[in-house]
């Protein structure tokens, strides 16, 4: 009994040393990573006159919410927030519906040309949407959709990676339940809607969350598709404030902080789901 701890003591001591060292390194990286955000918040809480003072200090003589108040009263941030919500929610709903239907068709039905179509869809995962902006913009001009919500929403619904992820999940679902429902005379539509979809909640949540984050933060396409300030999303609207605010850094940082806030708040509430979604869809999709 007494002899047992002795050979273990040395490794335990090294393990503790490693743990402390690991914790220290982690804390340093975390501090580096938090600094830019904290600095943005700090600047936003300073009066404009103090933001450009040298030597630079974290501690302002008098902290104030003035910059935040001005952003709320003078800018269109609330409007951009609503636009972002409309676009991201619209894309997410349409992606979930069309991609899950297509995935069901590919996974559970058979028709002529199914495999060829699936191959075409999978090949599309390789197409980088950023490269398509010129023809896409011309197409939107032709359809008369430039400067509408539709111009921002519709192109982002074509997400072949999501079809692929959902199809893979459907392929792995046991078929017994569907067989039972089919014997009872259920139509393919009811099998999809009342059997397969309810069984697929986790993967639907993952795809939905990932799509929402990507769409919410998408800059390039909405920036091209819309020039009407009333239709701008948060990323597009924030891109214009640098020129309109000039050197009012407290106000610029207040807008930046508020613009980033919605997803950060969502993260605090849905941490687990967001992490699972990004890790899962990120690896198999993008």
């Amino acid at each position: 009994m007494t002899a047992v701890p002795t050979p273990n003591r040395a490794p335990q001591a090294t393990a503790r040393a490693w743990n402390i060292a690991g914790l220290a390194v982690t804390a340093v990286i975390a501090a580096l990573w938090l600094t830019p955000l904290l600095w943005a918040v700090d600047t936003a809480l300073k009066p404009e006159s103090e933001t450009t003072r040298i030597p630079v200090t974290w501690w302002a003589d008098d902290f104030t919410f003035e910059a935040f108040r001005k952003v709320f009263t003078e800018s269109d941030l609330v409007r951009w927030f609503l636009n972002s919500t409309v676009v991201a929610a619209g894309v997410t709903v349409l992606v979930l519906l069309t991609a899950s239907m297509a995935a069901y068709g590919f996974s559970r039905t058979n028709f002529r040309g199914r495999r060829a179509l699936l191959a075409v869809v999978v090949a599309g995962i390789m197409v980088p949407p950023q490269v398509l902006v010129v023809p896409l913009f011309r197409e939107m001009l032709g359809l008369g959709l430039v400067d509408t919500y539709w111009a921002m929403i519709l192109p982002q619904v074509a997400a072949p990676a999501m079809v692929f992820i959902l199809k893979k999940f459907f392929d792995g679902l046991p078929r017994e339940l569907e067989e039972a429902a089919r014997v009872d005379g259920a139509s393919p539509w009811r099998l999809y809607w009342q059997v397969v979809l309810p069984l697929s909640r986790p993967v639907l949540a993952a795809v939905g969350i990932f799509t929402f984050i990507l769409t919410w933060n998408n800059f390039f396409w909405p920036f091209l598709a819309v020039s009407d300030p009333d239709l701008m999303t948060i990323p597009v609207g924030l891109a214009t404030i640098q020129s309109s605010y000039g050197l009012r850094y407290a106000q610029i940082m207040a807008s930046a902080v508020l613009g980033g806030l919605p997803l950060l708040v969502a993260y605090v509430f849905f941490q687990r789901d967001i992490i699972r979604s990004v890790a899962h869809t990120g690896l198999s999709g993008t």
Partner: protein
């Protein structure tokens, strides 16, 4: 009785005629159709039309311009601005990929161990990824300012000279890489973290019984098992880095950096299309770049086949 029945059954096909066209579409195709409409309109058509447009002298008006034959393509091959933009894109890709992958890996290795405040570390590493590119750009423009910028203030505080993060052509892209590292390392961190959690605990237990230390277990168990994930993370990062546009456009407010020193190829496409209004020429450059990206993707499929091969 028997004859009547036969007559009745025989009559069915006559009265029933052929079902209407929409009835004859296989049900599976109906399921796939809504997605296919979006896919054809907003992915396949733009891809084909980019190639098509590259053979015309298109302008913004949307009316079909004059056929240009191969002129856009030959002009592009001799266009030094295009080559320097392509060079910038490759430079950014080579400069950003190693730190983005390594930092993500180190973050995951550190936080996957049992340690206090895990939620805090995860939050700090991943949070920047959730910010829109514009927010990231605004924060870093502010940090990179001369004099009262946080970074230069830090440099002077420890006795180093200030650097022209946004004005020095040789630093212009480095500044974008640092900002991008901060912004998206958290994504690779999550991918690695997910992979680490799949490694069965008993492997480590067996190694601990043999007296293997943390460092030893890292090199003999963890890293070898992460090989596949690393391959995938590298390819995803290469593809993401090659598409660089947002950060440079937003940090340099569309100017392409001092002397275009940071303008990536996608921003050159944007400038050609929406400043010079040469849609045909811009399409030629996009198509050329598109082929380049597909080559990288196909190489990936060849190197890491198992993930996407399981379509039946």
């Amino acid at each position: 009785m028997a004859t009547i029945t036969t007559r009745a059954t025989a009559a069915v096909p006559v009265t029933g005629t052929r079902p209407p066209l929409w009835r004859r579409i296989p049900i599976g195709l109906l399921f796939v159709l809504p997605f296919l409409l979006f896919y054809a309109a907003f992915l396949i058509w733009p891809t084909l039309s980019a190639f098509g447009l590259s053979f015309f002298n298109e302008s913004l008006t949307g009316t079909r311009g004059e056929p240009a034959g191969l002129r856009n393509w030959t002009e592009m091959l001799g266009d030094s601005a295009m080559w320097s933009a392509l060079g910038n894109t490759l430079y950014f890709t080579l400069l950003s990929t190693p730190p983005l992958v390594l930092v993500g890996l180190v973050m995951a290795l550190l936080t996957n161990r049992v340690m206090p405040l895990r939620w805090l570390w995860r939050l700090s590493f991943f949070m920047p990824f959730l910010l829109p590119a514009s927010v990231m750009a605004l924060i870093w423009i502010w940090i990179y300012q001369p004099g009262f910028g946080l970074l230069n203030a830090g440099l002077t505080a420890i006795g180093l000279p200030e650097a022209g993060w946004l004005s020095d052509p040789s630093l212009a892209m480095v500044s974008v890489v640092i900002a991008t590292l901060w912004w998206t390392a958290g994504f690779n961190f999550l991918l690695y973290l997910a992979a680490l959690q799949q490694i069965p605990e008993h492997l480590y237990e067996a190694a601990s019984i043999d007296g293997a230390g943390w460092w030893h277990r890292l090199w003999s168990i963890t890293l070898p098992l992460l090989k596949r994930t690393t391959g995938l993370v590298i390819v995803l990062q290469l593809l993401a880095s090659l598409r660089i546009f947002d950060q440079v456009y937003l940090i340099y407010n569309g100017s392409g950096g001092p002397g275009f020193s940071a303008r990536p190829v996608l921003e050159y496409v944007y400038d050609t299309a929406f400043t010079s209004f040469r849609f045909g020429y811009a399409s030629a450059i996009s198509s050329f770049f598109f082929v380049l990206i597909v080559v990288v993707s196909v190489t990936q499929l060849k190197l890491f086949p198992s993930r996407r091969e399981d379509e039946r």
